[in-house]
Amino acid sequence: MSGPVFEVDDLRAHYLTRFGQKIQAVDGVSFSLKAGEILGIAGESGCGKTTLVSACMGLYIPPLHLSGGDVRIEGKSILGVNSETNRREVLGKKISMIPQGALNSLNPTRKVKDLASDMIRSHDEAKDKKALYARLRERFQKLGMPADEVLNAYPVELPAGMKQRVVIGISTLLDPRVVIADEPTSALDVSTQKSVIKLLFELMDQGIIGSMLFITHELPLLRHVANRIAVMYAGEFVELGTTEQVIFDPRQPYTKALMGSMLSAEPGHPGQKPVAIEGAPPNLAQPIQGCRFAQRCPTKQPDCTVNRQGLRVAFDRQVRCDHAR
């Protein structure tokens, strides 16, 4: 089908603290995904990427609230529905999440097959037990797991890598159109990480997953996983382009600093010395005038602290910097 599978349109979300402060954690994020595409979100802790995940999935549980904007899957908005409809129609079916830390997200008191059945049953796709089990078995085998063994085990009996596969298996049981992977491999060693990413690729290639949002702070991983990369800073995207562009030819100053901090084991690469940037990300509870990165920017111009930088199209991509070169 033509047209984007996943559209996020000027999405804004904020937190209301106990003391009445409003923190605009996501402030105008827009992007779209085609079928088969992986968009990577790069950013450091506090940039808003975790909030973005909840916001994209329509999970507005206080103190998180929707400020504005829209999220559409296959053309239809998923916001503005009550939480019951959201749970039944949207979560798991249209959009699903693979969380960080598989070790904590599986209920240890139930067998894997029961956890998986719950997923199917909670979406009103009630089937008889035998057919259900057969379906689980087929899917788990497709994902390269010894199905009978894994389905009848408790999560604690499985090693970390297998647990992550189970999490992926359950999250994608209903063939979601969009999958958000939030640091899915950060707790795994490199070999397991590779096999988990391989699995995600296979799921995409087989059409079980429509498109994917991959969030991580590990940039080299993003380079090999994502088709396009969006760099997030202080609640907004500062650069959005193809992987090659963002990693090897960054234009926005923060992106440059971020990409410059990567060091390769391959010796002798030019520009290997990371550049230090002082300061810390701004406090989002206070209103900020001008560019959010201006305070720390090595190429700051006088008007940077005055004019709000908009995301403009330049150098074949989107950049949030009037002075980028």
Binding site: S264, E266, H269, P274, A276, E278
Partner: protein
């Protein structure tokens, strides 16, 4: 004495528990750390690199094998404080590394507990202030402040300020950049280089980031499941590793300049 190895280990091991529950955190490692070198110990979490670091610090005792410091067995110095005068550390998480109940300055002053003859109050103050300036912090900035009042970057520099105060021969840096944001990482590396240059320090750099290790080190030890599976200069280790485990590890680590995994469709 120049040329004399700082640390020398032979079949060094550290295990916990007994019988079936025995965990061998460090298994029969042997190595030499040369004076004034920067040596990186690279490995995934759980590979034993932190336990190894603690043995060099004498915060853990080996269960078997030998470890010598400056040519003498490491346990031969009965006064631990003397050892800590020569071997110091910076830790990964700057917030959990300090006591949250005391001001940061008083904690910096407490370094002087290691000195047999405590200098006068003025000298203590002068040395603390000097160390703070060495990490680009004005002493007034942190006067009377508690750890939670400072940023992560500032706290990490407090850990380094300690080292400028104590001036040990050896610094064990346990993942000093892992919890620091990408923009500040270069700062930490610069200070480490400064320590090596100006104070001729031997640095043992613990990390999981092999790119970072190659950037700073004279030698790399690659640790996997308690053993050192590869050691040598960074170029040699990454270009022509001898162990198949190392080869596999290097292939599995995503590097922006190396091919890693391809999607069949796109």
């Amino acid at each position: 004495m120049p040329g004399e190895p700082k640390f020398e280990a032979k079949e060094l091991s550290r295990s916990y528990g007994h019988g079936k529950k025995r965990i061998e955190a460090v298994k029969n490692v042997s190595f030499t750390i040369a004076d004034k070198d920067i040596v990186s110990v690279v490995g995934q979490s759980g590979c034993g690199k932190t336990v190894l670091a603690k043995m060099l610090l004498r915060l853990e005792t080996p269960t078997s094998g030998s470890l010598s410091f400056n040519g003498k067995p490491i346990a031969s110095e009965p006064d631990l404080r003397r050892h800590f005068r020569s071997v110091q550390a910076v830790f990964q998480d700057p917030f959990s590394a300090f006591n949250q109940f005391f001001t940061i300055k008083s904690q910096l002053r407490s370094c002087f507990k290691l000195f047999e003859q405590k200098p006068s109050a003025e000298e203590v103050e002068a040395r603390v202030d000097g160390a703070l300036r060495a990490v680009n912090i004005e002493p007034k900035e942190i006067e009377g402040k508690y750890p939670f009042e400072l940023s992560g970057g500032q706290m990490q520099r407090m850990l380094l300020a300690r080292i400028f105060i104590l001036r040990p021969e050896v610094l064990i840096a346990d993942e000093p950049t892992s919890m620091v944001d990408a923009c500040s990482r270069a700062n930490i590396l610069d200070y480490l280089m400064k320590l090596k240059r100006e104070l001729e320090m031997t640095i043992v750099f613990i990390t999981h980031d092999i790119g970072l290790a190659c950037y700073v080190s004279d030698a790399i030890f690659i640790m996997h499941r308690g053993e050192i599976i590869e050691q040598g200069p960074p170029d040699r280790v990454t270009r022509s590793p001898t162990s198949p485990v190392t080869k596999q590890l290097l292939e599995d680590i995503p590097d922006i300049h190396q091919p890693w995994l391809r999607r069949t469709a796109t």
